[in-house]
Structure formats: structure tokens, C-alpha cells
């Protein structure tokens, strides 16, 4: 194979005098000499079939051309949520997380040179802790689903039990992930019923399913289907009476108005932090929240990085550093609480900036906006008569179900798309008992006009 050394902007020494001087410094003629230890039969004797290097401009054109076949929410009205949600991102958030000192840094193995990110992550933990009213939040997980998977294993570790009780209408993707994480430890999920009328967990069913095998009871509030669970205190009591932990999953944008899980007995909180300053990005990266109470046993059973506040050795300065690292894989190897290493720190930073900007009033306003819009949309849909909005008689936040009676959800969604409306997620595949129905999401990003247009278009389609 012909071998070429050419100039490339990302390779510092290629085609410079330095290249030759480095080779001669090593007393070798050819770079191939440095691969003399690779068995000849495994040396690739052809060029990879990938094409020639492109310039930045060509790459920009190429990537843009492919992505032209995407349609973003600026080109149509997108009313789908179900795990990641469209929200406005203030410019100051994008600016802060674009700082290359943050972007191009690694995990803070040398904390003295990495105080900026460490302090920002401590602030993320702190802001989230205040919002959840939990004491300890780790420096991020991949997403809500994996945070739940880890919370399940953490509960099993703490209680030496194997079962997690999960309500029927919890997110199927999150349930599936929990199952994947529980399987290897012989753990299993047990399903508690939720009322088809109100969505509320059936306390009798919950009581039946908790036992001395229950490691944890998991509840989503607001639920995957948008309704709020009102019996949270009772669920906490039932869990604790059985000696189980109480895990609550939250969309934190609700917590400007809804009582935080730390205030109703949650032992572990998981959730999705993406709405605070992170785009939906076709599904990733997201931001997994994982929190627990200030209980040393629990904290030591937690997965992932946790940043702590300390001082310099001479005690003259406040400083931040990764705390309790003996839980982690780089120290504890096979005995670690989790294998997680790379997390979603930059997404956590975005959340910290977002929460700092919005602050107390902004977060309260955000929750109110979403609550009022959800109610407005529900009222408007209800008024057209041909749909049932929502299927559950309960207060809703951000998401709600739209029952389509005898019309197929896929057909209706397809019709809506012709009118530039992405109407939501079809629910029948996940919950056949709900019949043909759609999960609809509204946030502060959706204008009244967009909601009205959706309602009127649907009315025409269902005519």
C-alpha cells in the first residue's frame, strides 16, 4: 500500500520538518517501523474505504445536505414529549456551555486545575438538591431510564432484596431499562395497578405487591401519561412499612409548583434534567438525575461521580473535588457500585446555568406556564367533543392523553402531519387497554396559536 504523509489541520506534525526530526530522533526511517510488533497478517494492506479527507466547508455542506431531510420544530408544530421535551434555551446557557475550557476538559482528575467545572457541578448538584428537596445529587447519569436502572440496583444493594414495584403506567422505556439493569442480579419488576379512570395507583394493589422481597417502590410524578399522583404520602408509607425504599421519578420542570419528592418521603429521586437548558437532539444526550437523602449508607451505595466541597491542605481556600471515589470503578473495579465513568457533565452544567438564570421566580413561572397551557389545551380539545381529553380524571402537567374513540391513532397522526403538526405519540402499542389514543405534550414553547391550530385541524380531520 502506498503510504503518504500529508498536511492535515488536526495532526500537528504531519508534513513538517518536525515529522522527519522525530523519526530521526527515534533512529527510524519509516513510521512502519513503529508497527513492527503488529503481526503481519493483521496489518491492513489497503486503504479504508472511507473516501478522501474533506475540508471543513465541504463537510459543512455535506452534513447540512443530509440533515436537510430533517424537519425541526421551527418548520412544524411538534407536540410530542414522552421522555424528552422541547423547551426554550436562553442564549446565556448556550454561551456558557460553549466555553472551550469546559467543553474540552476531562473528568477532574487534577482538581486544582479544574475548579471551574468542579464548582459548576457542585452547583448543579446543589440547585437540583434544592429543587428536589433531597440532600445529595450525583454529578449526572446518562438519562432518566438509566438513573432508574441504577436506583433499582442501589435499592437492592441497600435492602438485600430483589423486587421493585412499578406502576402500570410508568414509561415503558424506563421500565424496560430497569428490567435490563435488574436482570443480572436476579431482580425483577412487579406491577402495581393504576386506575383506568384516574390513573391513581390502586393502593390495595400496591399493598398486595409489596412484601419482604420488595427493595423499592417506584412512582412517577407527574406520570409518563401526564397525570399527577395525589396519594404520594400513602405510597411512601406503604413502601416504608414494608421496609422498602421509595423511589420517585420526576420531570423537574413541574417542581416550581408541585411539592418536591423530598417533601413526601422519597428515599431516592430519579428524573430527566434535559428540559433545563439541553436540546432534545433527536434523543440524546439527555441528563439523568439521581438523588438520595443525607444518609451515609445510601450515599456510599450511590453510583457515579459526586462532587464535594472541601478546602486546600493549608485551609486558606475553599475547594471542590470528586468525593467518595472509593465507590467507583477506577478504584473499586469489580466491587464498584456501578461501572459508570463518562457521564453527562456538560448537560449538568447547562442545567446549572439554566437554573441559575431562571432562579426561584423563573422556575415557578415556568411550571405555571406549562400547567396553564396544559389546562388550556385540555379544555380546547374537550370542547370539540369527538375526542376524550384526557383519559384520566386527574390534574395534568405538560402531557395528557387524547382518546380518539374509534379512529386509529396512526391514521390521525398521519393526517395531522399533512398539516405540519406532529400530534404526539400513539399509545395503543404500549397500553392496549387505553384504546386508540395519543400522548400530547405542551411546554412554554408552544404558542396559543399553535395549540388552537392543532385543535381546529384535529376537529376537521375527525369531522
Amino acid at each position: 500500500m502506498k503510504h503518504t504523509v500529508f498536511s492535515h489541520p488536526f495532526i500537528a506534525n504531519s508534513a513538517t520538518a518536525d515529522w522527519k526530526s522525530m523519526l530521526s530522533g527515534l533512529r527510524i526511517k519509516s513510521i512502519q517501523d513503529l508497527y513492527s510488533d503488529v503481526p503481519a497478517k493483521f496489518l491492513l494492506r489497503r486503504k479504508l474505504n472511507l473516501g478522501d479527507p474533506l475540508s471543513e466547508l465541504e463537510t459543512f455542506n455535506h452534513v447540512s445536505r443530509i440533515l436537510a431531510n430533517n424537519r425541526s420544530y421551527r418548520e412544524m408544530s411538534v407536540f410530542v414529549g414522552a421522555g424528552t421535551w422541547l423547551h426554550y434555551i436562553p442564549a446565556a446557557v448556550s454561551e456558557a456551555i460553549s466555553r472551550s475550557e469546559f467543553v474540552t476538559s476531562y473528568t477532574q482528575y487534577q482538581p486544582e486545575a479544574s475548579q471551574g467545572m468542579l464548582m459548576a457541578l457542585f452547583e448543579y448538584q446543589s440547585l437540583m438538591a434544592e429543587l428536589l428537596e433531597m440532600d445529595v445529587v450525583n454529578a449526572s447519569m446518562y438519562d432518566w431510564a438509566t438513573a432508574l436502572g441504577e436506583a433499582g440496583r442501589m435499592s437492592a444493594r441497600l435492602t438485600r432484596r430483589r423486587e421493585v414495584v412499578v406502576p402500570r403506567f410508568a414509561s415503558p422505556e424506563r421500565r424496560g431499562t430497569l428490567q435490563t439493569y435488574l436482570d443480572p442480579i436476579g431482580g425483577r419488576m412487579v406491577e402495581a395497578a393504576q386506575s383506568k379512570e384516574s390513573g391513581q395507583i390502586v393502593l390495595e394493589s400496591l399493598k398486595e405487591h409489596v412484601s419482604s422481597d420488595t427493595a423499592a417502590v417506584y412512582l412517577e410524578n407527574p406520570s409518563y401519561l401526564g397525570f399527577l399522583e395525589t396519594q404520594v404520602t400513602a405510597v411512601a408509607e406503604i413502601s416504608h412499612d414494608a421496609g422498602a425504599l421509595f423511589i420517585v421519578g420526576v420531570d423537574p420542570t413541574s417542581l416550581g409548583i408541585i411539592k418536591p419528592p423530598g417533601d413526601y418521603g422519597a428515599d431516592i429521586v430519579v428524573g430527566e434534567g434535559q428540559p433545563f437548558g439541553n436540546p432534545v437532539n433527536f434523543g440524546g444526550p439527555l441528563l439523568g438525575i439521581l438523588a438520595c437523602r443525607n444518609d451515609l449508607k445510601m450515599i456510599r451505595a450511590m453510583p457515579g461521580r459526586i462532587i464535594g466541597m472541601t478546602t486546600t491542605v493549608d485551609e486558606t481556600q475553599r475547594a471542590f473535588v470528586m468525593s467518595l471515589q472509593t465507590r467507583e470503578q477506577h478504584i473499586r473495579r469489580g466491587e464498584a457500585t456501578s461501572n459508570i465513568c463518562t457521564n453527562n457533565a456538560l448537560c449538568a452544567l447547562a442545567s446549572a446555568v439554566y437554573l441559575s438564570l431562571l432562579g426561584k421566580n423563573g422556575v415557578q413561572e415556568l411550571s405555571k406556564h406549562i400547567l396553564a397551557k396544559t389546562k388550556y389545551a385540555i379544555e380546547r380539545f374537550s370542547a370539540i367533543g369527538t375526542v376524550e381529553a384526557p383519559l384520566f380524571k386527574a390534574p395534568h402537567f405538560k402531557e395528557f392523553t387524547l382518546g380518539l374513540k374509534d379512529r386509529h391513532a396512526d391514521d390521525v397522526l398521519r393526517e395531522l402531519l399533512k398539516h405540519e403538526i406532529c400530534g404526539g405519540k400513539s399509545l395503543a402499542p404500549e397500553f392496549p387497554e387505553l384504546g386508540e389514543s395519543v400522548l400530547v405534550c405542551v411546554t412554554e414553547l408552544h404558542s396559543k396559536q399553535q395549540i388552537d391550530n392543532y385543535v381546529e385541524t384535529l376537529d376537521k380531520i375527525l369531522g
Binding site: 493483521f42 482528575y109 436482570d183 417533601d263 436540546p279 481556600q317
Partner: protein
């Protein structure tokens, strides 16, 4: 002399002033705001929030705060960052622009697939590229990071054996492996068998032969390994493991050294994960997000989690395939860290076949060049050195230096920071005392490599003549040496502002 910014920056909670506002939301239309009261009334009183302790600050205060924090943070864009096995190469800024495009950021994963053809096509094309680079048959983009890729890989190893009606419980991992390997294997329910390294730093073949049995599910291997040494007996290793009925798992952390030169698929690996935030230049973001796509052989492709990205030629369209009955379970939400893959794809385009190969070669050249300048330094040894060239990284032992001067690898690392150079990884791999693990990458100009060598030489000089100076380092960073023990001690543990202010439990 280097000086890192040193702001006495308070926490955002300490900046807070009641009434200050950093961002306002649009005014609600009156028809919508009219709904707020009723919506609130529908929520039972006991479910409403009573108080919220978040800071209040003006926009400039927030912008200034985070700008100052960024100035107290070291990144690749600031200087040399030679963390071994982390491949801190240049993160092309163009990639940040591509990933910020409207049609990347504001496209929802659950939109009708006809409206996300661009995302699907990009992933499909990227999959073809990754298959070509690694010699694997098919990839899943779902794993969020290398460790999650390992977890998935281990679950697929298990699924494979279960399909054969076997319950193999043991995963072999070398003593030089990354900590994630044993952690992932245990997480997937395996017991870990550790195989030791021989005197050349490679897997001890004789020991491997005795460890590999009918209980062996597989072997997880990094090649080149964490010592930066190519496992030249790879063919034998593969024969032993396959011969025992196990599978070969490739930890892609060190793929950078052999891109375009050799492929794990050709060596006989069955499962491969890549760390695109290492090999393919996507930034580490202070810890993440990265992405850990997993590739497999044709035989194992059925186990990849749903959905996969497919192309239908009849309709010239791309789609997500959920019809995968043998797939291992759900790993996370949606399809993977798409925005990260946009950067991965753009990087591969900008490098091309020749660029990737040249990057591998340049990383190996830089590493050997730097090693040649360091190996003669007083008090420094290169354990497991058989005279063969290293690959993209190497590991030094400072145990002699420590014995003679009391200056340990840790202290040396702190002193590097004073010179505006990030320290290498310390105390890893565990098989080397007082280890410094150095990976300069192809991005570092020779001048910076020379500077690194010069700095290290100065530090060692200092260790012999003025050890106190090194033991007290760093001096020029935002803060002096940190009391890490205090940060983890139960009496002084402080993990949030809430704990600091002593909120009632």
C-alpha cells in the same frame, strides 16, 4: 510562567439577592393565564409546593459567574492534556457548529420517521464507516458511553451462551485492564477472573491457557493495552478463548493507535465498543457526554438492542427497526447520543481514510518520541519494556524517584500543573508502582512534546534538590493543593449547598 485565573468566586447561592431576575418568560395570553387559577385549584393543596430555595441573580451576574468558572478550568484548548487511555486529542470546533444546527438540536426522537430522515441517514452512514474502521458487521448507537457499551457487550456475551444452552459465569480480564471492564462484567452478573501480565506487559499466555475453561464466557481486552503495548500474541489469545468456547470483547479505548492500520474484527474480536469521545474527537465536556457505540460480528447481530437503523431500498428511506426478537433488553431512552454522533461523523469525513491512518501513526510517533526523551531521566523507569516500540501511550514508573526523594507520582503530577501542562494519569495501570500514564495524541506539536519533556526534567531536578517545592505544589493553579481526605470524611462531607446550610432532614 503559567498562572491560572484565580477568582475568589462565591457560589451562585451566595451571589443571590432577593428580587433579582436573570431571565423572564413570555407573557401568557390572557385565555391561557385565565386557566392558571383553575388548574392550580385542581391540584390538592397537600401536593402544592410551599417554598423554593433557588438563587436569584441578574443575567450579567450569572454570565460573569460561569465565565469566571470557565477561566478556572483547564481544557485541551488551553494546553497539553496527556491523560493516558483518554485520548485527549483536539476537538475540532467545527464539530460544535455542526452539532448546534437547528436540524440536530430541535428534532424530536419520536417525530414521524418521515420527518427525521436526515438523522437516520447520518446514523446509517456512520454505521457503515464504523464497520469499515473496526471490521465489524453491525453497530448499535444506543450505549451512552464506553462503560455502557461494555455492559451491553457483556449482556450479549451472556445472551449468546444462553442461546447455546450454556451458563458460563466467568469473564476474564487482564490485570492491566481499565476499571470499567471488571465493573461492567460484574454488573452483567459475571465473576471476574484476572489474568496477569507477563514480563513484556502482555497477557500471560500460559496463565490464560489455564484460566480459560468451559466456564469462561469471554475475555475483555484492550489492544494496544493500557501500557501502550500491542498484544502481539493476539492470534493465540483469540484461539485460546474461542477454543474454550468464549467470546472476545474489544475495549476500544485505545483504538486511536491502530486506526487504518489494523482492525479488531480481523483479529478475531466478536464485540467491540468505541469511545467516540476519545478516538473520534468528540469533546469530553468535563466528564461527558460521550457515546459508546457497540459493533458485533454477523453471528451476534441479532442480540443488538432495538431499534437499529436500517435502509429500505424500495422506498429509498431509512427507518428504525424494532422487530428484533432476540435483542437484549432496553439500555436507555431512544437511540443514542445523536448530537455526539454528528461530531463523530463530521470528524470521520474531515479525516478521510488517509487522515485516520495518519492520526494513528502520528499518535504513535509522538508517543515514542516523547518516551525517548523521558526514559533517560533520573529516577524514571519504563517497566515491562521489551524494546518494542510503544503505541499511542506509555507508562513510566517513578518508584525510584519516590524512594530517593520522597516525591511521588502524585506530587510530580501537581507540579506539572504549575507549568501550564496537565498531568498524565497517575497510579494506573495498577501493575506499575508510582505510575504516570502518558498519551500525547497526534494533536500535540513537537514543540509541546519537547516542552513536556523539559518540564518533567525540571521537576525531577527539583525533586532531588528542593523536594519541598514539589511536595507543596501546585502554586499557580486557581487553588493550592486540595485536602481530598476531608472531602470524603463523614464529619466534613459536604455534597450540596443544602448540606452546607444544614437544611432539616
Amino acid at each position: 510562567m503559567y498562572r491560572q485565573s484565580r477568582w475568589n468566586e462565591p457560589l451562585i447561592f451566595e451571589i443571590s439577592r432577593e428580587g433579582a431576575v436573570g431571565h423572564v418568560l413570555p407573557k401568557l395570553e390572557k385565555e391561557i393565564s385565565a386557566q392558571l387559577k383553575e388548574a392550580t385549584n385542581e391540584i390538592p393543596k397537600h401536593l402544592l409546593r410551599a417554598k423554593l430555595n433557588l438563587p436569584e441573580a441578574s443575567e450579567l451576574e450569572v454570565v460573569r459567574h460561569f465565565t469566571r468558572l470557565s477561566q478556572m478550568n483547564y481544557g485541551i484548548s488551553v494546553g497539553t492534556y496527556p491523560l493516558g487511555s483518554c485520548t485527549m486529542k483536539y476537538n475540532p470546533v467545527a464539530n460544535e457548529r455542526f452539532a448546534s444546527l437547528e436540524k440536530v438540536q430541535n428534532v424530536h426522537p419520536l417525530q414521524d420517521q418521515r420527518t427525521v430522515q436526515g438523522s437516520l441517514e447520518l446514523l446509517y452512514r456512520l454505521e457503515k464507516s464504523l464497520c469499515e474502521i473496526t471490521g465489524m458487521h453491525k453497530f448499535s448507537f444506543i450505549p451512552a458511553a464506553g462503560a455502557q457499551g461494555e455492559f451491553l457487550g457483556c449482556l450479549m456475551v451472556k445472551a449468546h451462551h444462553e442461546e447455546q444452552g450454556e451458563h458460563r459465569r466467568k469473564m476474564i480480564v487482564p490485570d492491566s485492564a481499565h476499571g470499567t471492564n471488571p465493573a461492567s462484567a460484574e454488573m452483567a452478573g459475571f465473576q471476574v477472573d484476572v489474568v496477569k501480565s507477563d514480563e513484556t506487559g502482555c497477557v500471560d499466555i500460559e496463565e490464560l491457557e489455564t484460566i480459560a475453561t468451559e466456564e469462561t464466557a469471554g475475555l475483555m481486552l484492550t489492544n494496544p493495552n493500557t501500557l501502550g503495548i500491542f498484544e502481539r500474541n493476539i492470534e493465540e489469545i483469540v484461539q485460546i478463548i474461542h477454543g474454550a468456547g468464549g467470546l472476545l470483547y474489544y475495549d476500544g479505548a485505545n483504538l486511536n493507535a491502530i486506526m487504518g492500520k489494523a482492525r479488531p474484527g480481523d483479529m478475531g474480536f466478536d464485540i467491540v465498543h468505541l469511545n467516540v469521545h476519545k478516538t473520534f474527537s468528540t469533546p469530553h465536556g468535563g466528564g461527558g457526554p460521550g457515546a459508546g457505540p457497540v459493533g458485533v460480528t454477523k453471528e451476534l447481530q441479532k442480540f443488538l438492542p432495538a431499534p437499529t437503523v436500517e435502509y429500505q431500498s424500495a422506498t429509498h428511506s431509512y427507518y428504525l427497526d424494532y422487530n428484533r426478537p432476540k435483542a437484549v433488553g432496553k439500555m436507555k431512552m431512544f437511540y443514542g447520543n445523536f448530537a455526539v454522533y454528528v461530531k463523530t461523523y463530521a470528524y470521520i469525513l474531515m479525516m478521510g481514510a488517509e487522515g485516520l491512518q495518519l492520526a494513528a501513526e502520528a499518535s504513535v510517533l509522538g508517543s515514542n518520541y516523547l518516551l525517548s526523551k523521558l526514559r533517560t531521566l533520573r529516577g524514571v523507569a519504563v517497566p515491562f519494556d521489551s524494546g518494542e516500540p510503544h503505541k499511542h501511550e506509555f507508562v513510566l514508573s517513578l518508584s525510584q524517584l519516590a524512594k530517593e526523594t520522597g516525591v511521588r507520582a502524585l506530587d510530580t503530577a501537581k507540579r506539572f500543573l504549575d507549568h501550564g501542562v496537565h498531568a498524565p494519569i497517575t497510579y494506573f495501570p495498577l501493575i506499575i508502582d508510582e505510575a504516570l500514564m502518558v498519551e500525547p495524541t497526534e494533536s500535540e506539536p513537537k514543540r509541546e512534546l519537547d516542552n513536556f519533556a523539559e518540564v518533567m526534567s525540571k521537576i525531577i531536578e527539583e525533586a532531588y534538590h528542593e523536594p519541598k517545592k514539589v511536595l507543596g505544589a501546585p502554586y499557580n493553579t486557581s487553588v493550592g493543593r486540595i485536602n481530598e481526605v476531608k472531602a470524603s470524611h463523614p464529619k466534613t462531607l459536604c455534597l450540596s449547598w443544602r448540606m452546607k446550610r444544614g437544611a432539616p432532614r
